[in-house]
C-alpha cells in the first residue's frame, strides 16, 4: 500500500512537471505583456519591468527560473495585480470555492445515492422512471441557467436565501445547490445501474433465502457493494465541479478561484492562468489518489499494489 502510494506520488510529480512545462510554453506563445499601457512607459521603466518579470532572459532561462520557483511554491507575480504573488491570490480566494465545492459534493453524493437507490429498488415502476427523468434533467440543464433560476425564484421572489454576495454560510447554499445538481444526477444514474446489478446477484438471493428482511439485505449487502463503484466516480466529479464553479461564482458574486480564473482569462493574466492550471491539476490528482485509496479500504477485494497506475 505505502509502496503503491509512493509510486503514485512519484507519477504525480512527473505529470505535474510536464503539465507545468507545457503550460509555460503555451503561455509564452501568447500575445500581451504585464503592462497595461506599454506605449507610455519609458525604455528605462520597461527594462526594469522586464527584469522584474524575468522577461529579458532567453526563454529557456525563464523556464528554469519558473520551475525552480515552482518548487518553492512560488507561482510568480500576477500581471493584473501589481506586486501580488499568484500563490497568495489563490490562497485568499480558496476558501469560498472549497466551501461551496465541498457542500455541493456532499449534497450531490447523498441525494444522488438516495435517488439512485430508490430507483433501483423500485426498478421498472413509475418511481424508477421519475428518478431517471430527474437525473437526466439534472445533467441536461447547464448550471448557469440553473443558478439564474434559483437566484430569481428562491432568493429574489420567495426570499428563502440571500440573493448573492459572500456574507456568511447562508450565502453558500444556493451556489452549492446549483453546483450539486450535475454530480447528483450522475451519481444517481451510476448508483441505479450498480444497484440493479447487485440486486440481481446470487448473494442477494442467498441473503433473502436466509430469511433476512429486505431492509437487512439492502443495508448489509446491496448498499455497500453498490457504493464501491460509485466512489470511483466521485473523485473526477469533484474536480469537474470546477466547470460549474467558473460560472456559478460569477452569477452569485462569490470571491472564489473560479471567478478569478475567468477574469484572468479575460485580462490575459498568464502567470495566474498558469498558477491556477497547476493548482487545479494538483487538486484533481490528489482527488483521484484519495479515491483510489478509499476504494481499497472499502472493497477488500482490491489490492492497490496489484493495480495498474490508472
Amino acid at each position: 500500500m505505502t509502496k503503491y502510494i509512493i509510486k503514485r506520488i512519484f507519477y504525480m510529480i512527473l505529470t505535474l512537471f510536464i503539465v507545468a512545462s507545457v503550460t509555460f510554453f503555451m503561455m509564452k506563445m501568447m500575445p500581451g505583456t504585464p503592462f497595461t499601457n506599454q506605449d507610455k512607459l519609458s525604455a528605462a521603466q520597461l527594462k526594469i519591468m522586464n527584469q522584474q518579470y524575468g522577461l529579458n532572459k532567453p526563454i529557456w532561462q525563464q523556464y528554469l527560473i519558473y520551475m525552480v520557483n515552482l518548487l518553492h511554491g512560488d507561482f510568480g507575480t500576477s500581471f493584473q495585480f501589481n506586486n501580488q504573488p499568484v500563490s497568495s491570490l489563490i490562497m485568499t480566494r480558496l476558501q469560498p470555492s472549497m466551501l461551496i465545492g465541498a457542500q455541493a459534493m456532499i449534497i450531490g453524493s447523498i441525494l444522488g445515492i438516495l435517488l439512485g437507490a430508490i430507483a433501483a429498488i423500485n426498478k421498472n415502476t413509475w418511481i424508477d422512471s421519475l428518478a431517471t427523468f430527474v437525473s437526466i434533467l439534472g445533467i441536461s440543464v447547464p448550471s448557469f441557467v440553473l443558478g439564474v433560476l434559483l437566484q430569481f425564484y428562491l432568493a429574489f421572489k420567495w426570499h428563502l436565501f440571500p440573493i448573492a454576495l459572500w456574507n456568511g454560510w447562508q450565502s453558500s447554499i444556493l451556489p452549492s445547490i446549483a453546483l450539486a445538481v450535475s454530480p447528483l444526477a450522475q451519481i444517481a444514474r451510476f448508483m441505479r445501474t450498480e444497484m440493479v446489478d447487485v440486486l440481481n446477484s446470487d448473494y442477494i438471493e442467498l441473503s433473502k433465502a436466509k430469511g433476512n428482511t429486505r431492509w437487512q439485505t439492502v443495508v448489509k449487502h446491496t448498499l455497500r457493494n453498490s457504493l464501491i463503484p460509485v466512489i470511483t466516480i466521485i473523485g473526477p466529479l469533484t474536480a469537474n465541479i470546477l466547470t460549474g464553479s467558473l460560472v456559478v461564482e460569477n452569477i452569485f458574486s462569490i470571491p472564489g478561484i473560479g471567478e478569478q480564473f475567468v477574469k484572468s482569462i479575460m485580462t490575459n493574466d498568464y502567470p495566474t492562468i498558469m498558477g491556477l492550471t497547476i493548482f487545479y491539476s494538483v487538486m484533481f490528482m490528489v482527488m483521484l489518489l484519495i479515491t483510489d485509496i478509499l476504494y481499497s479500504i472499502i472493497d477488500p477485494r482490491i489490492r492497490l499494489t496489484n493495480k495498474e497506475g490508472n
Binding site: T23, I136, S140, N240, I265
Partner: protein, 339 residues
C-alpha cells in the same frame, strides 16, 4: 383398471420432417446488430428519443429553408420584442410582456411594428428573429458536436487500438500520456487551447475534441485488450493476417458497440461544453449563434425577457435528454446481459 397392452401399434413412427422441425430455428437468424436493433425497438423511451432527435436534426439542418427571417439581420428598432404570432390570439404569443414595473405592455405597439409581422419566439437585443437564431444555433451546436466527436473518434480509436494491441512499452508510454492529459481538468485543457488558437469554429471543435478523446481511447484500449485474447484473433494471427487487416476486419466491428455508445454520450457533452465556453466568453464568435451563445445572452436578459432564455434552454434540454435517453437505450440494447 383397464388393461393396457403395449403393442407395436402403440408406437407411431415420426416422420423425418417432424424431427427437422424441432431443430429448426423458427425466428430468422439475426446478426448481433440486428439483434441489438430488435431490442432497441422494444425500448419505447429509446424509440421516442430517436424520433425526437431525428426531428430536431431535420428541422435544424433545414434551417435555411425553415427560418422565417435572416438570423443575422438586425433591426434595432424592433429589439427585444416578445413572442407573437400575428393575427392570432394564442396565450404566450400575443406580443405582451411585463415591464420592469410589472405592468403588462405591448412593445409591438410602442415600437410601431406592422400588424402582420410575426416573431414566433420574439427578437433579441439587435432585433434579430430569435426563432431563426435558435434554428441556426441548434444546427451550429450539432455541427460542432458531431465534428468534435468525429475528431475525438479519429484520435481516440487508433490510439486505443494501438495501445491495447501493441501492449508492453508502447502501451505504457501511451497510457502515461493519457494520464497526463487527464490529470488536467477538461475545461482547463479546452480553455488553454482556445487561448493559444485563434478564436473561431475550428478552434472550438479542436478544443472540445482534444479534451474528450481520452475517454474514448481508454474504452477502446480496454475493449481491445479483451478482444486480443479471443480465439478468432489468435486464429487470424496464426494464418498471418496483417495487423491492419485484423484491426479492420475483426477489431473495429467488434468494437463498434463501444464506439457507438461512447459517441452517443460524447455528442451531448460536446454540446454542453460549447455552451459553457460561450458563457465564459470564449465561444463562437459573433454574429453566429449557437445554443451556448443564445443561452448566455438569454441568461443575462432573464429578469425582464425570460423568453430569451427559456426557448434556447428548452431546445438544449430536449436535445440533451433525447441524446442521453437514446444512448441509454443503445447501451442496454448492445449489452444483452442487462434487463
Amino acid at each position: 383398471m383397464a388393461d393396457i397392452k403395449i403393442t407395436a401399434d402403440s408406437f407411431k413412427k415420426i416422420t423425418s420432417d417432424q424431427s427437422e422441425n424441432q431443430e429448426k430455428i423458427s425466428a430468422p437468424s439475426l446478426t448481433f446488430f440486428q439483434d441489438a436493433v430488435r431490442r432497441l425497438r422494444k425500448d419505447k423511451v429509446a424509440v421516442v428519443s430517436f424520433f425526437v432527435l431525428i426531428i430536431i436534426m431535420i428541422v435544424a439542418f433545414a434551417a435555411p429553408v425553415l427560418s422565417p427571417h435572416d438570423p443575422n439581420a438586425q433591426n434595432p428598432d424592433y429589439a427585444n420584442l416578445p413572442p407573437r404570432i400575428a393575427n392570432t390570439n394564442i396565450p404566450g404569443f400575443r406580443g405582451r410582456i411585463k415591464n420592469s414595473a410589472g405592468i403588462v405592455t405591448n412593445p409591438y405597439e410602442t415600437n410601431n411594428v406592422p400588424k402582420n409581422r410575426t416573431y414566433v419566439l420574439g427578437t433579441d437585443y439587435l432585433g434579430r428573429d430569435l426563432f431563426s437564431r435558435i434554428l441556426y444555433g441548434t444546427r451550429l451546436s450539432l455541427i460542432i458536436a458531431f465534428i468534435a466527436t468525429l475528431v475525438d473518434l479519429i484520435i481516440g480509436l487508433p490510439y486505443g487500438i494501438i495501445s491495447g494491441w501493441k501492449g508492453g512499452t508502447v502501451d505504457l508510454i501511451l497510457q502515461r500520456i493519457i494520464e497526463i492529459i487527464s490529470s488536467v481538468p477538461n475545461l482547463i485543457v479546452a480553455i488553454l487551447l482556445l487561448l493559444v488558437l485563434k478564436p473561431g469554429l475550428t478552434s472550438i471543435i479542436l478544443a472540445i475534441a482534444f479534451s474528450s478523446w481520452v475517454t474514448m481511447a481508454r474504452l477502446i484500449r480496454a475493449q481491445t485488450l479483451q478482444l486480443k485474447e479471443q480465439e478468432y484473433i489468435l486464429a487470424s494471427i496464426t494464418i498471418g493476417e496483417s495487423p491492419m487487416r485484423i484491426a479492420r476486419k475483426h477489431l473495429i466491428p467488434n468494437l463498434s458497440s463501444t464506439i457507438i455508445i461512447q459517441t452517443m454520450f460524447s455528442i451531448p457533452s460536446a454540446i454542453f461544453f460549447e455552451a459553457f465556453l460561450s458563457f465564459i466568453g470564449i465561444g463562437i464568435p459573433a454574429p453566429n449563434a449557437s445554443l451556448g451563445t443564445l443561452l448566455s445572452d438569454g441568461q443575462k436578459a432573464f429578469r425582464f425577457l425570460p423568453y430569451q432564455m427559456w426557448y434556447p434552454a428548452l431546445v438544449l434540454c430536449i436535445l440533451m435528454i433525447a441524446f442521453n435517453l437514446f444512448a441509454d437505450g443503445l447501451r442496454d440494447a448492445f449489452d444483452p446481459k442487462s434487463e
